[in-house]
């Protein structure tokens, strides 16, 4: 299995297996906690668990679809304009998701504000399109997009749950820590709480699996 990093890398060239791709995106190379990509929205939308879930779904959808189309068009795209082509494809799917959200779930659209649109500049999607979909066939690219989307969503859900529970004692709007003995820690809902929660999450990930040193990368 994907125990040693060199083996994973060499498999990248000869067409990685589905399982490895999933494992990399969700855990060993988690986009937020390990690669520090897409941090902006991971901080901004996580004040409530519900927002985190919707945002995670948005990212899974956009990453999978844009990886699919970037990969399908990879042989037809001239190298010089590939960035513009990628951005256009990504923006198209972000618009689709934004319109769906506005139509079926307007309150959520309101509460996420500009952060749905900001998926366009989310480095995860651009990074996967550039690093993976440009070199690999469509099917595995979709798996890669979904894997990275799940990795991102998992981090968001963890932070969202921690912030909502610590901040207001509620989870998805239901009281879990009774207000009789627990006073909501307002700072967790406000901006500083987001930074601190993500900092501790990254430290926890480092503690479980110490980061690779520069030499072994």
């Amino acid at each position: 299995m994907a125990a040693n990093p060199a083996a994973v890398m060499s498999c990248g060239a000869c067409g990685p297996s589905c399982r490895q791709t999933l494992n990399e995106g969700v855990w060993t190379n988690n986009p937020v906690a390990v690669q520090m990509l897409g941090v902006c929205s991971a901080l901004a939308v996580t004040s409530r668990l519900e927002n985190s879930i919707v945002m995670g779904m948005a990212l899974i959808f956009v990453a999978a679809m844009s990886n699919l189309f970037v990969s399908l068009l990879r042989n037809a795209t001239p190298r010089r304009i590939r960035m513009i082509a990628e951005v256009t494809i990504i923006a198209t799917f972000v618009i689709v998701f934004d319109q769906l959200l506005k139509a079926f779930y307007p309150e959520m659209s309101e509460s996420l504000g500009p952060y749905v649109g900001l998926i366009i500049t989310n480095c995860i999607i651009m990074g996967r399109a550039e690093a993976f979909a440009m070199q690999n066939p469509p099917a595995i690219s979709v798996v890669d997009g979904i894997a990275n989307g799940i990795g991102y969503a998992a981090v968001l859900i963890l932070i969202g749950a921690a912030r909502e529970v610590l901040g207001s004692g509620e989870l998805l709007g239901r009281t879990v820590l009774s207000p009789d003995w627990y006073t909501g820690n307002l700072v967790m809902i406000l901006a500083p709480g987001a930074f601190i929660a993500l900092g501790f999450l990254i430290a926890l990930a480092n503690h479980i699996k110490p980061p690779q040193t520069e030499a072994s990368k």
Binding site: M36, L37, V39, C40, S41, L43, A44, I84, V87, T88, A91, T92, V94, I95, D98, Q99, G113, P114, G117, L118, I120, T121, N122, C123, M126, V187, L190, A191, P192, G193, A194, F195, I196, L198, G199, F200, I202, A203, L204, N206, H207, P211
Partner: protein, 201 residues
């Protein structure tokens, strides 16, 4: 009553700092805050591009995209994401070519930062906030400029703190990005102290 652009400028720097309160532009904030000089260069480039693109995007949004706009009557607001990002990319490219031709010195100082800016979410975020909060032209100018200054202020402060942090004994799992996140959190808390100085929605 309409909020004055100057008020919005100060609010965007202190109370509604685009990085510390809206979490925008984190990627380059983490990547380029090791050196104070680099931070200042990037901050200046972001301020310039953010100010100009907010105004250009304002003109395009209200001149073309909105329903019943002077140039095209149809409602094209759903196209705004794609138009905004194209404007930003094109503007950055244009500025790069322009300063390369007319001021090589400035190009060497700022040039390497310009491509980074296209994918800086703070720039696109400023344009999206401008639309969501329905700012006027003057307010957009104030918000774009103030947002840029606020971002530059945050990254320069962080660069200074990181220099000091090189000498401190940080617990092993927190080394690297984790401690930067926690420090940024404390910084955001400090900036919350400005709340009450100016009030915008």
């Amino acid at each position: 009553m309409e909020t004055s652009p100057l008020l919005i400028l100060f609010a965007a720097i202190f109370t509604n700092n685009i990085l510390l309160a809206s979490f925008l532009g984190m990627c380059s904030f983490l990547a380029c805050s090791q050196q104070i000089e680099t931070a200042i260069g990037l901050g200046a480039a972001v301020t310039f591009v953010m100010t100009c693109t907010s105004v250009i995007n304002y003109l395009i949004y209200y001149g073309i995209l909105v329903e019943g706009a002077p140039l095209v009557a149809a409602d094209l607001t759903f196209m705004s994401f794609i138009v905004f990002i194209a404007v930003i990319a094109a503007f950055v490219q244009f500025v790069e070519m322009f300063i390369e031709r007319f001021s090589p010195k400035l190009y060497y100082a700022l040039g390497i930062f310009l491509p980074l800016i296209t994918v800086n979410c703070a720039i696109l975020g400023a344009s999206l906030f401008m639309v969501i909060r329905s700012y006027t032209l003057g307010q957009s100018l104030g918000f774009g400029f103030g947002g840029g200054i606020g971002w530059a202020l945050a990254i320069v402060l962080m660069a200074g703190l990181r220099k000091k942090m090189n000498y401190s004994n940080v617990p092993a799992p927190f080394r690297g990005v984790a401690i930067i996140m926690v420090v940024t959190g404390v910084m955001a808390m400090v900036f919350m102290g400005f709340v009450g100085m100016v009030q915008i929605q």
